[in-house]
Amino acid sequence: MQQRRTFLKSSLACSFVVMAVASGLLTPVRVLGHWNRAAFNATRLHSAMKSALGSDLTESSKRITIQAPEIAENGAMVPLIVSSSLENTEIISLFAVQNKTPLVAQFELGKDTQAYISTRIKMRKTSDLIAVVSAGGKKYSARKEIKVIMTGCQN
């Protein structure tokens, strides 16, 4: 049976993969390892996507659906359901574009886990919510604007 992903256990293995990817030898298949500090701390969407996914380039897809309120009264509790009908959906990543740090979460699915996530997030203000699906070595995305009445990020 073909292995869909290789699990990397050490940072040494990670650096070999980085070198191989840079030289074009490997198609990057993102696997969640240690908590991705660089991605979660990135303050710009494109940096967050590059750190989280290896690239900020995605193909827009109607096969990713985002169910969320048009208007979220309370930005601290925005309910979302993201699902994908793309084959081999491996990772679902969520970005709230106007959050101070746009990367919200990454969900790595087991082989038989459905591409369906229901959760609640904080949004700082009205913005697009972007869902990126990593599937079969490629990245696809969909976005939905969510209007936020009361900010979810007090400071």
Binding site: F40, A76, T101, L103, V104, Q106, F107, G110, T119, C153
Partner: protein, 105 residues
């Protein structure tokens, strides 16, 4: 025995397991200020969460500070039979962790 921070409901029907969890956790962003002391409330949020079914990881999650307080997660798995053991575990940025096991019903 200390009460777990994790509530989990795991049901299987027609070959699909539906797993819902609610975790008691502040998910503090680290951006808020305590109005009475003027000091920043330190960041305290779950970073890693994992769900295993009979020892195999079926969901591996990384969260940032933008996941809501007392986080809720619901997902589905194509498989599982009643009696299977589910284990949900999390670790936060301060090194705290918790886990709970439940049977699929």
């Amino acid at each position: 025995m200390a009460k777990s921070s994790i509530k989990i409901r795991a049901r299987v029907k027609n070959g699909v397991s539906s797993i819902k969890t609610l975790i008691n956790h502040p998910m503090e962003t680290g951006l808020r200020t305590d109005k009475s002391t003027g000091k920043k409330i330190p960041a305290h949020f779950i970073q890693n969460l994992k769900c295993e079914l009979n020892g195999i990881v079926i969901m591996n999650v990384q969260w940032g500070l933008a996941v809501s307080q007392n986080p809720y997660l619901s997902f589905k798995y194509n498989g599982g039979i009643a009696g299977d053991i589910l284990k949900l575990s999390w670790e936060d940025n301060t090194g705290l962790s918790d886990s709970v096991e439940a049977r699929l019903i």
